[in-house]
Amino acid sequence: MLHFRSLPFLLLLGMILAGDTYAKPTCDVSLSATQSEVDQAVVMNIKIQWPKSEALYAFLFPQVKMDNLQLQTQGESQESFLSDGEPWVRKTFSLTFLPVRSGEGRIRAFTLGYIDPSTQKGGSFQIEDQLIKVHRKRIPKKLLNQIFAGAGTVIGLFVIAIIFFMKFGRKTDVPKHAIDLKAEAALAKFEAMVEARGGKTTKDLLQEFSVFLRNFVTEYYKVDMRHTAIPDVLEDLKALGVSRQEREFLRHLFDILSEMRFSGSGLSDSEFDGLQNEIKNYVSGKRIVQERLI
C-alpha cells in the first residue's frame, strides 16, 4: 500500500496536478446548415478555447479555398468565461458563405495555426473539408399559397364579369360610369343653348357662353366666378386643389372668350365652332366622376 507521504505517490500526484494545469487549445468546427439553396447563406464557426493561464495565443488564419461558394463575410471574436472556477478564453472565427449554383458546395480543408508569442510554443488544427448540398431556389410555400389563392380570385372575378357583361352589358340605358348630375344637366343646357340659336348674333351667343361657363365653374367648385376677376378665381381654384392643367385650360377658354367678345374683331365660323366644342368637351369631361363599372 502506498503511503500518502511516499515518493511514488508524490510523483503521481505531481503528474496529475501538472496534467490539470496544462490544457491544449481545443477546436470545434460547425456549419449552420449542411443543406442550403442558391443565395441562402451558410455560416461556418470555428471555436477555439483554452485556459487563460496557459497563454495568450495568436492565430494564423489562412486564405480559405472553396468550390461553388462565395465568401461573403469573415469575422472573429474573443470572450472569457469560467470553467470549474478557472478563467478560460474562447476565440471564434465566423465565415459566411453564399452558394452559387445548385449541386455541391465545398469548403476545402485548411490548417489553422496558433502560437504563444512569449514562448514561441504553438500548434495547429486541421480543419477537414466541409460539404454543403445546394438546392435550387424555391418559392416559399406561404407565398405560393397566396399566389394560387390570388390567381384563383382573379379568374373567378373575370368569369363573373364576363357573365355579367353578357347578361347586362349590351343594354345602353344602364350607365357604365358614375355621373355628376349637375355637370350632366349643365351639358344638356349648353347643348340646348346652341340648338336654340335662333336669330341671336354671334356676340350674343358668346356672351351666353361666357355666362354659362362662369355659372358652371361657380356651382361646380363653389367659387364666385360671377363677381370676381378671372385671375383671382384661378387662385381660388388652385387653393382648392384643381389641377394646373385644368386651370390653364379654363384661363385659355376665358382668354379666347374675352378676345372674341371685346377685341372688336370678327369671328369665323370655324373659330366659333372650335370654341363651342372646347366648352362642350370641358363640361362633358366634368360629368364623369369615376371610371368604374357600377
Binding site: Q207, F262, S263, G264
Partner: protein
C-alpha cells in the same frame, strides 16, 4: 381681329415687355407690395395721381423713389406740415436787392414724380395749391405760368392712425386723384426677406430702364387700346349704380349713399382699365380689367351718409355690392 387692333396689340406686347422690366428693377429693392407697384405703373401710364393710405413703414416713399430711378425721372419728396405755405410747394418770386428785380424760384413741385407726404397735415390753401397744379399741369408764379414736367405724377399719402391736428382733404379735391390705394402690411415671408435685404447695409442699385419720352410714347399706345361698347356700358352701369342704386335693384343702398361717383369717375375708370389691359399685354379692355381696378377708382368717389357710418358701412362695402349686382357683360 381688326388690323388696327392687331397692330395696337403688337405694340402693347412690345411695350409691355419694357414695363415688366421696370417692375423687375423695382422688385430688386421693394419686397412684395406688388399691388402698390402695379398701381404706380397704372397711374404713370394713365397720367393719373394716387392717394395712398397706409401706416408708416410700408415702403411707400421707397417704392416711389425706386420707380423714379427705374424710369429715370426727377423725384421730389415734400413733407406736408401745418406751417407749410403754398410758396413752399409751387415756388415764389424772390426779390433781388442788387438789381431790384424779382426772380422766380421754382418749388419742389417741378419734378416728374412727387411724393406729397401726409398731405392732410397741411392747411387747405397748401392742399389747394398742390391740387390745382395736379389738375392744370401748370403753375403760375407771379404773372408767369410754368408748365410742369411730363410725365407728372403725384403720390399723396395720408396717415390713417394719427388724425389729430389734420386737415382732411375735401371730397371735391379727393376726386382729382385717379386711384386711392389702401396699403397693408407684408406677410411673414415678405417681411423676412425685407429684414434680410435691408439690414445688410448694402444699397441695391436700380438701373434706369425707361425715360420720360418713352413713357409718353407708351401713353400714346395706351390711348389707342380698344374698349368695346359692352365694356363702356359696363363702366357706365357701375358708375350709375352708385348714383341711382334703385335702378339696379340696389334699393338697400339708396339711404346709404350721399353722393355717387361723378363723370370723372367714368373717365378715370376707363383710363385705368386701359392701363391695366396694357400691363397685361392686351390691345383691348375686358370687364376683368374694370373689376380689377374698379375698387381703387371708386372707393374715394362714393360718399356715404351718416346712416351708413352709423351702420359701419364704408364706401368699400357699397362698391362691393355694386360689383356683385351689376351684370358683367
Amino acid at each position: 381681329m381688326d388690323e388696327s387692333i392687331r397692330e395696337v396689340s403688337a405694340q402693347v406686347k412690345e411695350a409691355n415687355a419694357t414695363m415688366q422690366e421696370v417692375m423687375r428693377e423695382i422688385g430688386k429693392v421693394i419686397v412684395g407690395q406688388q399691388y402698390l407697384v402695379d398701381r404706380l405703373m397704372v397711374a404713370l401710364l394713365a397720367d393719373g395721381h394716387i392717394l395712398i393710405e397706409g401706416v408708416p413703414g410700408l415702403a411707400k416713399t421707397l417704392s416711389v423713389r425706386t420707380l423714379s430711378q427705374a424710369v429715370n425721372a426727377k423725384f421730389q419728396r415734400i413733407q406736408f406740415t401745418p406751417d407749410l405755405l403754398p410758396a413752399d410747394v409751387i415756388g415764389t418770386l424772390v426779390y433781388n436787392p442788387k438789381d431790384g428785380n424779382f426772380t422766380t424760384k421754382k418749388g419742389p413741385i417741378f419734378a416728374s414724380i412727387i411724393l406729397a407726404d401726409e398731405i392732410n397735415r397741411a392747411p387747405s390753401k397748401v392742399q389747394s395749391a398742390l391740387l390745382e397744379a395736379m389738375q392744370e399741369r401748370q403753375v403760375t408764379i407771379g404773372d408767369t405760368t410754368f408748365p410742369l414736367p411730363k410725365p407728372f405724377l403725384v403720390l399723396a399719402t395720408q396717415n390713417p392712425i394719427e388724425q389729430e391736428g389734420t386737415y382732411p382733404l375735401p371730397e371735391a379735391q379727393v376726386d382729382r386723384f385717379m386711384l386711392k390705394l389702401i396699403v397693408t402690411y407684408p406677410n411673414k415671408k415678405e417681411e423676412k426677406e425685407i429684414l434680410e435685404r435691408m439690414s445688410g447695409g448694402k444699397t441695391i442699385p436700380v438701373n434706369p430702364v425707361l425715360d420720360p419720352e418713352k413713357i409718353l410714347a407708351m401713353r400714346e399706345i395706351m390711348h389707342r387700346i380698344y374698349v368695346d361698347e359692352k365694356v363702356k356700358d359696363y363702366i357706365i352701369d357701375l358708375v350709375f349704380a352708385t348714383r341711382e342704386p334703385e335702378h339696379y335693384k340696389l334699393d338697400i343702398l339708396k339711404p346709404l349713399i350721399s353722393y355717387g361717383a361723378s363723370p370723372r369717375a367714368s373717365i378715370m375708370l376707363t383710363l385705368a382699365a386701359k392701363a391695366n389691359a396694357f400691363l397685361r399685354g392686351r390691345g383691348y379692355v375686358t370687364p376683368d380689367d374694370v373689376k380689377q381696378i374698379g375698387f381703387d377708382v371708386l372707393r374715394h368717389r362714393v360718399l356715404v351718409t351718416y346712416e351708413a357710418e352709423a351702420e359701419e358701412m364704408t364706401s368699400e362695402n357699397i362698391i362691393q355690392q355694386v360689383f356683385e349686382q351689376v351684370e358683367v357683360p
